[in-house]
């Protein structure tokens, strides 16, 4: 029972990180009608910046803050240089152009940081465990991730739904020309939105950095998971992305943890040991297929998209 609870928390944590990545993707798609495959590269760059800045400042929090700012700048620079010419082109062009950007960023990271993976050490005050239930210790850092990501999700909601900037973003999404005609600086707005998406991806990357090894290509796996999330949630919908991300995170984690045992009930343990790893990594894709059959436009489709 405790194990299930612990795995649910792990799943929630993965889901929230996925949400941070997927939110940027879905925001950029919903507003600029832009498919950005290089979004995963921003996640990777966030993690690498964290590794460097944490080592440089000697403080995890300060390093993370610098990394976040740096990723935001890289994102805005990327938008101005490479993404802006792609607006209004068809999706194939986006896919191809940003596929090129992935190669570029992977190689750039290899050049700057070298091919070996990096580790980001946790400060002592985060590297502890707290008892959250009688008999269950849970790492403080993972709780910090969950709390931070939830706070950011809330902040994002407030930003988009309750502020003037958010109103402009929504206006730009629903009618670009009209918003432009009313005096909104659409170019600047797009750069800001792209930077916001980049910062969210960078935040996810830098929070993962102490848990995983920081390595080249780390963004690509999460990018594809984020795609699955936004397909399930409905492309362009932040609310859909949130719910789908939590769903995928829970499903993936719990599947990996319990599928071998469940399969052992119906087949030999040797067979279960063979099938379970393959099946659990396929499971979210199967769920996506089911969602597509039932609701081709995702669970929370955005109207008139």
């Amino acid at each position: 029972m405790l194990l299930i609870f612990e795995q649910c928390l792990n799943g929630l944590q993965l889901g929230l990180l996925l949400f941070l990545v997927a939110a940027g993707l879905t925001l950029v798609f919903g507003i600029m009608d832009m498919v950005n495959l290089a979004h995963g590269s921003l996640y990777m760059i966030g993690a690498y910046f964290a590794a460097s800045f944490v080592a440089w400042t000697g403080s995890f929090v300060a390093g993370a803050a610098f990394a976040l700012g740096a990723t935001l700048l890289v994102g805005m620079l990327m938008e101005v240089v490479a993404i802006r010419p792609l607006y209004g082109r068809d999706h194939l062009d986006h896919v191809l152009g940003t596929f090129g950007l992935i190669l570029f960023f992977n190689e750039l990271v290899r050049m700057v940081w070298g091919p070996a993976g990096l580790r980001v050490p946790l400060p002592d005050w985060l590297n502890t465990a707290v008892p959250i239930l009688p008999g269950l210790q849970y790492p403080t850092y993972r709780i910090a991730i969950i709390v931070t990501a939830l706070a950011v999700a809330l902040l994002l909601y407030v930003l988009v739904m309750r502020t003037r900037i958010g109103m402009l973003i929504r206006a730009g999404a629903s009618n670009r020309e009209m918003a432009g005609a009313l005096g909104v600086n659409i170019k600047l707005l797009y750069t800001l939105v792209f930077g916001l998406g980049a910062a969210l991806a960078g935040l996810a990357g830098l929070m993962q950095a102490p848990i995983l090894t920081v390595q080249i290509g780390m963004g690509e796996n999460i990018l594809i998971l984020a795609f699955v999330v936004i397909i399930i949630g409905g492309i362009g919908s932040i609310r859909g992305a949130f719910i789908a991300a939590i769903m995928v995170g829970l499903l993936d984690t719990i599947g990996r943890a319990f599928l071998p045992d469940l399969l052992r009930l119906v087949m030999t343990s040797r067979g279960a040991a063979t099938v379970a790893p393959a099946l659990s990594s396929m499971m979210i894709y199967l769920v996506m297929a089911v969602v597509l059959v039932v609701r081709p436009q995702g669970l929370f489709p955005v109207a008139n998209k």
Partner: protein, 333 residues
């Protein structure tokens, strides 16, 4: 001026002659490098040709096309591993497996459009990729070695590299011909009509979903055959064959060569692979006067040039190389 002597036709003819002559060069010099490289190029060109059918002519941006390379390859690998090395059994199974998978994926993904389609094809490819990674019996992550190539009758041995190369080349030419016949048939016109305006095609009374599905299956099957060839060529199958970057490479080949053009995928496959092979040397050459000794180190990072190159092709050369050749033709009047 003779009408058919256009820059594009000259380039295509020269390429074909070049492709035919490669084994002779290899036999003369005894250096198999070019033959090995071009066997691979020819096989990937066949995969790109199949992708061009759905992507170029059909407007179906499949971002998981390499999965059929994997399915075709694994069909050969698994059967060989289990002791069935007859090509008469292996190849039909490889083809049938890819066709069946394409039917399933197509049936689901063609219900959707645009970005959804791109991502769904990608996700299904990932599904199979992870399935391959999970196949402990067949090497999982690391893949597995093929102990022998597919066995046909004794007279035709695929282990003969020259013969195998010509077989691949013949199948490539056959695929290009087949795609050309398809797109110029009534069926192909429906597919292209549905790319331009699907709703209108439906209004005229064409069940476009079925047409597109059949087209999707043809492309998947053709690519599955290319996968069977690839497995025989490298004598090795691994999940990396169907990694999503491989699917991206196939799209690059199609766009670089020229979408919806008969020989575009072939030109694109040659251009991309030759570029990948020669870029390190080119960078070394260009960097040597500036940084001197360090040029060798700089050349290691050739992908930093390749990536932005894709972006430039997208931005400034939409028709790819084929389009450039054709505009050359128009300028000449």
């Amino acid at each position: 001026m003779i009408g058919w002597l256009t820059p594009r036709n000259v380039v295509v003819a020269a390429l074909l002659v070049f492709l035919i002559l490669i084994p002779i060069y290899t036999a003369a010099t005894g250096n198999p490098f070019l033959l090995t490289l071009f066997t691979r190029i020819v096989i990937l060109a066949m995969a790109a040709t199949s992708l061009n059918l759905i992507l170029g002519y059909g407007g179906m941006v499949s971002f998981g096309h390499a999965v059929y390379l994997g399915i075709g390859g694994y069909a050969i690998g698994i059967l060989a591993h289990e002791g069935l090395s007859s090509g008469f059994i292996q190849w039909p199974i490889a083809i049938a497996a890819s066709a069946l998978f394409a039917l399933g994926v197509g049936a689901l993904s063609l219900r959707t459009r645009g970005l959804y389609f791109i991502m769904i094809t990608l996700a299904f490819a990932q599904l199979v990729y992870y399935f391959g990674v999970g196949l402990d019996r067949y090497g999982a992550d690391d893949g597995m070695q093929l102990y022998q190539r597919s066995q046909f009758v004794d007279a035709i041995s695929l282990s003969n590299r020259t013969l195998f190369y010509y077989l691949c080349l013949a199948l490539l030419v056959a695929s290009i011909y087949l795609v050309w016949r398809i797109v110029n048939s009534r069926f192909g016109l429906v597919i292209q009509g549905s790319r331009s305006n699907d709703r209108r095609m439906q209004a005229i009374g064409f069940p476009t979903y079925r047409y597109r599905l059949v087209c999707f299956v043809i492309a998947g099957t053709m690519c599955g055959l290319a996968g069977a060839l690839l497995a025989n060529h490298t004598e090795f199958v691994s999940p990396a064959m169907m990694h999503w970057t491989r699917s991206g490479d196939l799209i690059v080949m199609v766009v670089l060569g020229g979408m919806a053009s008969t020989f575009g995928p072939l030109i694109g496959a040659i251009a991309l692979m030759v570029l990948e092979e020669s870029l390190p040397a080119l960078i070394k050459l260009a960097a040597a006067p500036i940084v001197g000794e360090a040029a060798t180190r700089v050349a290691e990072y050739w992908q930093i040039v390749l990536g932005p190159l894709f972006l430039l092709v997208v931005l400034f050369a939409r028709g790819g190389i084929n389009g450039l050749l054709e505009s050359l033709e128009r300028r000449r009047g």
